[in-house]
Amino acid sequence: MNERVDVLIIGSGASGAAVAWSLAETKMRILCLEQGDWIKSTDFPANGRDWEARRFGDFDISPNSRGRDTDYPVNDANSLMKIANFNGVGGGTVIYTAHWPRMHPSDFKVRSLDGVADDWPIDYWTLERFFDENDRMMGSSGLAGDPGVPPRNPPMPPLPLGRTAALYARAMNKLGWHWWPSDTSIATRPYEGRAQCINLGHCTPGCAQGAKASTDITYWPLAIRAGVELRTRCRVREITTNEHGMASGAIYYDADGQERFQPAEVVIVACNGVGTPRLLLNSASARFPNGLANSSGLVGKNLMLHPWPVVSGYVEDELDGGRVPITSLWSKQFYETDPQRDFVRGYTLQFGRGTGPATEAISNIGTGRLPWGRAHHRTYRTMLNHRVGIGVACEDLPEEHNRVTLDPVLKDSHGIPAPKIDYTISENTRRMMEHGIARAEEILTAAGATRLHASRTVLNYPGHLLGTCRMGDDPDRSVVNAWGRSHDVKNLFIVDGSIWVTSGGVNPTSTIQALALYVADQMKQRLATLFD
């Protein structure tokens, strides 16, 4: 048996890293178990000529396509939207696009303001200082003064507009609609030991330059220096409990495949919206027959995935192509509820840039825009570096039938039951998607684009895995309380995207990490009475 630790964190991604760093100042003995590896900068695709092909291989965002031995399979056959994640130190921050919006104040009060879903037990203003702290820690870039969001001051200037974003900007000004340079977590100047962005192209499959913030190069070096231990290739099978109904530690498989038991005084789960309910459901016992922390029956339910249609087209002018990070502008014009529309809540418009030469062709398989045969070359030459595209980041409201359960057959390489996803897109969201697609088409048309194509679900797996262990004050209607502690197990905490009550219409990483820092702060304030 391993030596007992004070705090066991399961998962080293966005939230696990933030909570580890924040708790390190307590001088408690803290251990994090991560099922994946450290990823070296030389491992990233941008180092090689096959950089585009590897986005569909060992750096695919889908664990099922990626199929690394550190991944676990996900049965997402019963969902139009597929599951994206990454299993390694840094988790999903290794392969995200580095878009860095925050949830809006209204997102925390959707019941009060719009009569749907539920309010969060906390509000934006509770999290504001943790947003700011996280911006400093991850290193965000952007421009203050955006009238579409609450005040914030990113520590670095925004990415360049370039030709592509300037084209969008002119179109948006013509329409009189809001736009602003996106906040990103990309270093636009040297920052805390990180080199600045040199425009390696699409950031998703990792940043060889180290300009994109991922927790393996932001929080973790500081947490480890402060005494936190991080063990890789340790896959947790279940959280164990003692005769008092308290978490006693976790059983995991180490790098050699040996089963081990790690005792702990406090267990913090940070495996995000699919991995966390999977672990809790796999931790069922005689005392907790329906899974750990699941007296509400809500573990795994209310999965929210952010439906994300993308509308693309082509203009005559040559643009930036795939030479620059895909993030450029956002628009909050349609973010808030408008009673004139046939849906509640709203969406962010996110303006993309182009793609690399292979991806330009590959992304047109099935769109009918790029012919195969003798006409291929001439058409292709009107597309490469001429692409424009807008993503519609739709708020996804919670519905209990959208859920994560355990697959009765599928297992990972250690024989641990895999997660099964059942998910449908609601009518409200579908109406929102169509509204957003129509607005995106208007914008692209105003920009002079033709050959427009709307992808409703094909590209639709942003990897935003939210809501499956929601927070709340009522133990019958939530899994954790307003500061991340399980209602059922007083020394079990959850800090990842699963504790979200609603999803907003934004990329979640900034808010996930602000929440993790907030939970850590609450724990530190309550150390003497943590289990009361």
Binding site: E336, P357, A358
Partner: protein, 150 residues
Amino acid sequence: MSNAADIAFSDAEVRALRDIAGTMIPADATLGVPGADDPAIMADIVKSLGRDLPDVRAAVAAVGAKANGDFASLDVDAREKLLSEHIASGGAASALARVILAAYYRDDRVLISLGMEPRPPFPKGHVVEQGDWSLLDPVRKRAPFWRKDR
């Protein structure tokens, strides 16, 4: 023990794949670009099949079946039509197209013809112009419109 689906392509399968690749992206003397059936590009395609091998094998076989076993003998219009319809069907056919395109669009000759440097993105990166930030002026003048919650 190897799964039959994972065994490397036979000579006959490579020939069939070459016929498909050459039809999908033919050489163009005017533009000075090779076809995807160029020996060096074909070697790259075959080398990079990897985890896509079973899908590509199935797609190549399906194209052959639709051509009654002799895709190469069809006239070029018929080959292009058959291939376009097959690729549009998705599934394994998408993997076939993706593998061909990924190899074709990293070939030095192709990239140079497109005005690109044949190199990986790192470490040189790219230069991107700042753009005209005065475009933001009208937006800066707008009053805050995010929804207040209190």
